[in-house]
Structure formats: C-alpha cells, structure tokens
Symmetry: C2
Subunit: 356 residues, 2 copies
C-alpha cells in the first residue's frame, strides 16, 4: 500500500536536510519494496512570503490527507521583526496544535564515535540512552492571556501556563507506555515546590503510575533535573515533562549526543497522524552552504518508519547506516574540530545511502 507522506521543508537548512530524508526513504522503498508518495507543502517563513501566513490551509489539508508528516525547520532573521501571527514559529506552533501533536519524543543517545568533540569525558557518557517525552500542545506556549497589559497604569505583560487534567494524564500515559517497552522507569519533571500546575502534574503522575505497577515512577524538580542530566545522565530511562521544561531540558540533553544536528524527534497525536522533525532549527547562519548535518532529519524519518508505519527493520537499517558512517569517520562540520575535515550535507546523505 502506498504511504502518503507530507513533506514540509520550511526555511533555512530545513530544505537541505529534508532532501536527505526523502532520498533515504526512496532508497528504503526501493530495497524493501514500499511505495512512498511525497507531497510537498509550505510552512514557516516561506509560507509567509508566498501565502501571507505561516501555516496555509492547504498545508494543513495536505497533512490531514497524509499518513505522516516530515518537517524540516522554520524561522530566520528575515521574519524576526514580524508581528507574532506572521512569524514562522507560529506555523510550527499552529501545526502542533491543529494536528493535536501532544507528545514530542526526543531520544537522547551518546555516540562513542563522536567522543573527540564532546565536552564530556568518555566514561561519563557510558550507557546514556534515554527518551524525553515533552508535552507539546499546552502550558505557557498556548495559555491565554498572553499579552501586554497594565496594572494601575503601569505597563506589564502576562503569559499563562494552563493545563487540563486530561492533557496531563494523556502525556503521562504515553510516557508510561513507552517506558514499558524500555527499562521501565519514568522520571516526571516538575516544579511542584512552586507551581500549582506542577502539583496537579505530580498528583496525576501518581494516579497514572498506579495503573503501571511494573514501571517505576520518580519525581524530580526541574532545576535538579537540569543538573542531573549533566551529573549522571545514565540514571534516566524516560523523562516526561511539560512543554517549556521539555524545550529547555531536551536542548541541554542534546549536548550528550554531541550535537543538536544528531537529534531526531517524533510528535505523536492520538489519532495516528504523527509529525517528525529534527530538534534543531533552521540555522540561518549556515543555510544554503551545504554545511548542515542531515542526520537528525534522517533519524526522524527512521522514527516515522517505526512509529507511523511499524517498519521496525527498515527503521533499524537507517539507524545502523548512520552509525556505520559515523564509525567510518565521516563528519559534518558540527561534528568535528578539524577545520577542513568535514563532508558537505550532500555527501553525508550519499554516504548514508551507500551504507544502506
């Protein structure tokens, strides 16, 4: 059966890395005899320029008629001064909300082969393999009011951290389900000594844990978590947390895997239409120069094969190919300290294709 995949390259290096994922998927399709139908849509700055909105209706429609969505990255200085509703990031936030992509999965693994450019000592990274499950459609990102206001004539501003109990519940359930298939430990990160939302979060976590007696639950305050991720990263299996905490902690944790250019992500909805994107952004500073690392995007495509299409073997093949290429010493610029010993984006894609 044909799998329909919506491709949203977005801005900056988004296009460059998306092309890598498409090529790798074509190769997979060829070897394993799957038919992928790629349909392109606009999002972000590109969509603002061409349609006057960061998430055109046609794009949303295209996604809804697809079996999965691959997204590159959005944003760039060109649109930074735009009003909020005309900023590329709004396209990303809107698609997350519109497709109800509430569970953002960010797997963190240390790659021993990348040890030379890591800030960490080698032994410190042994056994690092955890999954951050970030709530993606609530919290400070979407709460209202979010606006300038005034208090007794003084200019002020407000943002709102809002969660419904059932939104907390479903993200925690997702985390427990995923932990069941891993090492059966969930670390729920909150700030329950200060925030009311965290107190409810903790309460719900306890309730959900009750239904998963085979999975261990631990609570950790977000400040401590930011420290523990560096201090003892191999203590974690599944970390689950709200939107903003997850944003911060996952970028921090990215350093354990060597580069943001290595980190894939999957954003899952309840209805089975999922979106896959690299954790990195559009990197306008290196866009168009062939310097981007396509691995995060390619590994995101592997996650798509696994989570959307249950093609476990195919997903594993991509991951193995990436590993093989890294072991052979090939590096994009973000992965090396040597000013001239790196391969351009296209060549990295070729290498992975060949390794397949």
């Amino acid at each position: 059966m044909v799998k329909k995949i919506a491709i949203l390259p977005g801005d900056g290096i988004g296009r460059e890395v998306v092309e890598g994922a498409v090529e790798i998927l074509k190769t997979i399709g060829h070897y394993y005899r799957h038919e992928f139908d790629f349909q392109y849509g606009l999002i972000g700055g590109e969509a603002i320029d061409q349609c006057g909105t960061p998430l055109p209706d046609e794009t949303l429609e295209l996604c809804k008629q697809s079996d999965a969505v691959l997204l590159g990255a959005v944003g760039g200085p060109k649109w930074d001064q735009n009003p909020a509703h005309l900023r590329p990031e709004k396209g990303l936030l809107n698609i997350r909300k519109q497709l109800d992509l509430f569970a953002n999965l960010r797997p963190i693994q240390a790659h021993p082969t990348l040890q030379d450019t890591s800030p960490f000592k080698g032994e410190h990274l042994e056994g690092v393999d955890f999954l951050i499950v970030r709530e993606l459609t609530g919290g400070l990102y979407f709460g209202k009011p979010s606006e300038r206001t005034n208090q007794n004539g003084e200019e002020a501003v407000v943002d709102t951290l809002f969660y419904k109990r059932k939104d907390i519940e479903r993200i925690l359930e997702t985390a427990f389900e995923l932990a069941r298939k891993r090492r059966k430990k969930v670390t729920s990160v909150d700030k329950a000594n200060v925030l009311e939302s965290s107190k409810l979060w903790r309460e719900v976590a306890e309730e959900v844990a009750y239904r998963y007696p085979d999975v261990e639950l631990e609570h950790m305050l977000v400040d401590n978590a930011a420290m523990q991720i560096i201090h003892k990263p191999n203590q974690f299996d599944v970390i689950v947390t709200e939107n903003m905490f997850g944003d911060i902690l996952s970028d921090e944790a990215a350093m354990l895997s060597g580069s943001l250019g290595m980190l894939p992500s999957a954003s899952l909805s309840a209805n089975g239409l999922h979106l896959y994107e690299p954790v990195h952004g559009s990197a306008p500073d290196i866009a168009g120069q062939g310097l981007a690392n396509p691995i995060a995007m390619i590994l995101s495509a592997a996650m798509m094969l696994r989570y959307s299409f249950h093609l476990m073997e195919e997903a594993g093949a991509i991951e193995k190919a990436v590993k093989h290429v890294l072991e052979s010493g090939k590096r994009t610029k973000d992965l090396t300290n040597h000013p001239n010993q790196y391969v351009p984006t296209k060549q990295m894609i070729e290498e992975i294709k060949e390794a397949l």
Copy 2:
C-alpha cells in the same frame, strides 16, 4: 562600627553550613578588627514547627533591623505534604518578596583543582567565569492566578507569568552595571519566539543597552542557552534572565563548578538590605551526618562582605583561603570519587579557618 547580621539557618544541612560561615566571619572579624553582631531567626520547616508559619513576623523584623541576612537552606520531607502556605519553600519565597530581593547573583567558576570529579574534559572548562543574574521576585513564582480551576466542567490548573516593565528594567540595569565591572558583555536569555513576556523583556533589554554603550548586549533563546552553557561555557560574562529560567540554568551551570556545594549567591534589594544563601538546598538525605560542603555558604558570606559591607580585601581573603584548601587536596564528600577520602563539614571549616 558594628555590623548586624541576621542568621537564618533553616533546615537540614542549612544549620551545619551556616555555622561554618559564622565561624569564618568571626575569624575575619578578629584579624581585620570588625565587629559582627549575629542574631538568629527562624525560617522554613523549623519555623513551621515552632511558630506555625514558614516566615514568622519576628524573623522579618529581625532582618529589617539588620545590615545583611545570611540564610542556610529550607525544606525537608517532613513538610512535603503540607498545604502550600505551610511549606518551608514558602518562607524562602516570602522573604525574597518581602525584602524585595529582586536580583539574585550566582557566580559560576570552574575550579581546575576539582577536575578529577568533573564530568567535563579539562580543556573545556578553561576560562569559565560568568555571573548569572536571575530575577527573583516575579514571573511564574508570584503571578496570580495560580490555582486549580475548571474549564467547561473539566478540572484544570493555571499559573501566571507576570512582569511589570519596571521590574524587567531594574534587573536588566543591575546586569549591565555588573557587566561594566567585568568583561562588559550581557547575554539576555528569553523565549521571545513564543512568550509575550519575553518580547517585552527583549524590548526593555534593548532600551537599557542603549544607556550602556560600553557593554555588549546579546539575546539568546533559553533552549539555546541551556545548550550553550554546556557547549561553550567560556563565551559568557553576565547572563541575565527571568526567575524560572534563572532557576533552571543556574543549577545546570553549577555542574561546571564541580558541585552545587560550591555555589554561593547574593540576593540584592534596591534599599541596600541584601540576603546571601548557597544555591544548594537543605539536602535532607545527608543532613546531620557532617557530610555537607560548607563552601557555598562560606563563599556566600564572602559575597556579603563584598556587596553589603564593601570589605573587598576580607572577601578576597576568604575566597583565597577556600582555593588554598581545595588546592591542598582537602575535599568534602560531594567533591571526591574516593569513598573514604573526604573530610567532614567541621574539618573543612577548620581548614578554611586555618588557611585564613
């Protein structure tokens, strides 16, 4: 002239480390001929047990009649199930609010002598020396509403991130003033691609920067900052950010200095009454066992000498003594990997006293 110092030991290891600071200050007073008058007050769990409130009026009164406040730490499992207003942390939040301690200074330095227990490669920590300026009386910590609610019959919860323009302005001014005395670079951390409060923050940062043409201003998104603190920590001079971001980033950055047990902090008000506390908490797991590292508290006392009493030489003497003791190989338990080669809290205090 006699300097009146309010001493609030609090809970857990708070008492143990506060005694260290008092001893060191007595020694300084003796050598440099200053008179310090120490008056003790209750805060946190201890205050809940004895007075039924985490911040008794007498404690607040005592602080207001003092020239500076030294605080140990608050909190412990005994009070974890209490309702919000009877939790030790509330005492800490209240004293910050009541004394208007809006600027929390957290200096981060890497100590080459602690390299063996650091997760980082040695060369990575070279030149790491920055100051986090955290807004301490606003944001999600104090915004209202902060409560359970319901939306169309569904249980929900809300917290509020609120700032007045002038509160953003004064913390940024503090950061620029401090940067002027350092390497003249301010990194303002926000999430301006999502939060309205961050957009105002960025606007105000630009305005304030205009008045400090000798200081360089750079903006950084909080997720990127969480990464950059690990990736290239020596790029920073002064980091300024709102309350919650500062909480998370400063605990993360603590790892650069080896242990949370090393990190002092100063919380400054506009009226000259400042509070000094270690960044670490009450560590109930090791309380009463003589295992606590008193250095963060002792360095907080040094910050007091510097910021409240302008005793630069005396502050420097304490910092030098601490450095000397660390160089001589003495370690508290948090600073060593060797299970039996550590000194108890009291001995560490003695060593620093002798080094003075």
